[in-house]
Amino acid sequence: MNLAELQSRMASAIMSPLTGSDSLASRTVGGTKMRAEVNELIKPNAQLTSFERLEIYSRSYWFRILDGLYDDFPGLVAVVGQRAFHRLARAYLTECPSQSYTMRNLGSRLPAWLEAHAGFAKPVLDLAVDMARLEWAHIEAFDGPARRPLGPEDLLEPGPNLKLALQPHLTLLALRYPVDDFRIAVADFSSEDHAAASNAVGSYKRRTLARRFRRARPEPVHLAVHRKENEVYYRRLDRGEFVALEGLRGGKSISEAIERALSDGASSIVYEELGATVEKWFASWSELGWFCVAG
């Protein structure tokens, strides 16, 4: 058996989902009998069988990546509940194992996966998908790339055909629920929970929070998730502001982006106040450092 074959077979055994009691599965993902497979690869010793030795690695693998997902998506845990999250996390990680040298990217495919696997988040699918999108955007904002921002002085006379780029760490989200408020409540709860003397109080508060989320009514929210001075911020946007920014992100010129916002039926822009509104938008966006040179 050469190195490539050994590693392929061992990885397949390690990455096979654990049983409900966190034991090594009886079959590999490929359907091979696990015990026979492991016996071929690994020596037993006086204390442990080959199966038990490989189980140490498999548990370590699953506990590590599950912990990683729990750490990165605390809002989603709160929305769907611990048990449902555990189920969906195992299913997601089975279908979408890490493809990166860093665990930072573990959840990059979770929002799209969740949308395509509605059964794992029923009856709060839209809320859960919104939360997953927000939490992935949060990770991108936390340590995503930043280019040199263009300040107000760079934009004094931009000209209608100037194409601006938005900071790569900034994500624009059109959400169906106010999950930004929920995510902040979860963060506040987590810091309180650390200080709480009683597990019972913490557990009660967690359940109360989860009930609050599940009773939430839909409320469209347009959000920019971004970073300023190494802090992650959630900034709510007017509909028109959001449409204009999406236009800029899509490569439209400033005039095209404004035109897009103006012609958007849902936008509340008053035509007579267009000049003042746009001026306010650009002043705010440039102050936040969102603009950079397209490139």
Binding site: L3, Q7, S60, P97, D143, P145, P168, I184
Partner: protein, 327 residues
């Protein structure tokens, strides 16, 4: 519209595997026995080409829970070891924090996911980002593990044990040379703790380590705790391992705590160093001379002062090595 801040996610990756259950912890068998005598010249060569000819002393791992203490109290620390992957990012707080550390301290990079032993080629994106970080930190050497962890682009984020075969040694050595040529910095490979052995192995772990570092002409990050853990799990004499390592290639030494279970030991980096590991450390230092030493503490991390004090227990062994060397 108010602008609101929320807490950042935790940096990744973490290194130590997590135990499935706790049975008992932190007891060790005394290794006893007499220490071997070695040539005096060994003690005069702690700095070597594998650690950039640096005479670094005792360092500790840079960890998030200690940031505040470090910036507020500016403790005297000879050097910090960073986990490279935590800083191979495009921007944000991690890099800003690193820059503050670099202003005041010496830093050495330690990686957890290069996977020199994986049969697949090195990840070019990984190498590119690592080189960017090397330029930032000016690390005099960098280390990663003698292990594998990825297959067909899928990552386990674990330090999986190598089959000790000549084929694996050749491939691993080739990848280490390739990485060193690209990164333009000395590389040291670390022996890992392991919980499994392969039928296909053709040699002992220390023979494999020697095969790899000889073929790659690279350094060794000698983890004496990992040697202890593996010796208990695979029933070999850790002193034989220490004595077989080519002392002139040891660029750095790791010490750490572990967790003892009923039928095996896990390398958890969440306890003080046990006496048996200190004895191995002493044995290693007597062979290598005073070598850059780092305490790893990655889980259930106590206060900075506690970690610092634990690391400085290495001083008496280093001082002894230096005094022998000075005679």
């Amino acid at each position: 519209m108010p602008v609101r801040a929320v807490a950042p996610p935790t940096p990744k990756p973490r290194k130590s595997p997590k135990p499935a259950s706790t049975i008992s912890r932190n007891s060790g068998t005394s290794l006893g026995g007499s220490l071997p005598d070695f040539a005096l010249s060994n003690f005069l060569m702690p700095a070597n080409r594998f650690n950039g000819h640096c005479d670094y002393g005792i360092g500790i791992g840079l960890r998030v829970p200690h940031y505040r203490h470090i910036f507020e109290h500016k403790p005297v620390v000879d050097w910090f070891e960073i986990i490279s992957e935590n800083f191979m990012v495009d921007g944000g707080r991690a890099l800003a924090t690193l820059d503050r550390i670099l202003d005041q301290y010496r830093v050495v990079q330690h990686g957890v996911s290069m996977y020199f032993g994986s049969a697949e080629p090195l990840n070019r994106e990984h190498l590119r980002r690592l080189k960017t970080l090397v330029k930032r930190t000016k690390t005099p050497w960098l280390s990663d593990h003698l292990c594998w962890g990825s297959v067909d682009g899928r990552y386990t984020h674990d330090l999986l044990p190598m089959p000790y075969t000549f084929e694996a040694a050749e491939l691993t050595a080739r990848k280490i040379r390739e990485a060193r040529d690209f990164l333009e910095v000395p590389i040291a490979v670390e022996n890992v703790s392991s919980y499994a052995e392969f039928h296909v192995s053709e040699m002992t772990e220390w023979e494999f380590l020697n095969e790899v570092v000889g073929r790659a002409d690279c350094g060794i990050l000698l983890d004496v705790n990992n040697i202890y853990v593996s010796s208990q799990n695979h029933d070999f004499d850790p002193r034989e391992y220490i004595d077989a390592v080519p002392a002139e290639r040891v660029a750095q030494i790791h010490i750490a705590g572990h967790s003892k279970f009923e039928r095996y030991i896990l390398d958890t980096h969440d306890h003080p160093v046990i006496d048996a590991v200190w004895q191995l450390y002493e044995r290693a230092i007597r062979r290598t001379g005073a070598t850059a030493t780092l305490l790893e503490w990655d889980d259930s991390i106590p206060s900075f002062d506690e970690v610092h004090a634990e690391a400085h227990k290495a001083e008496k062994f280093l001082d002894a090595a230096c005094s022998v060397g000075a005679r």
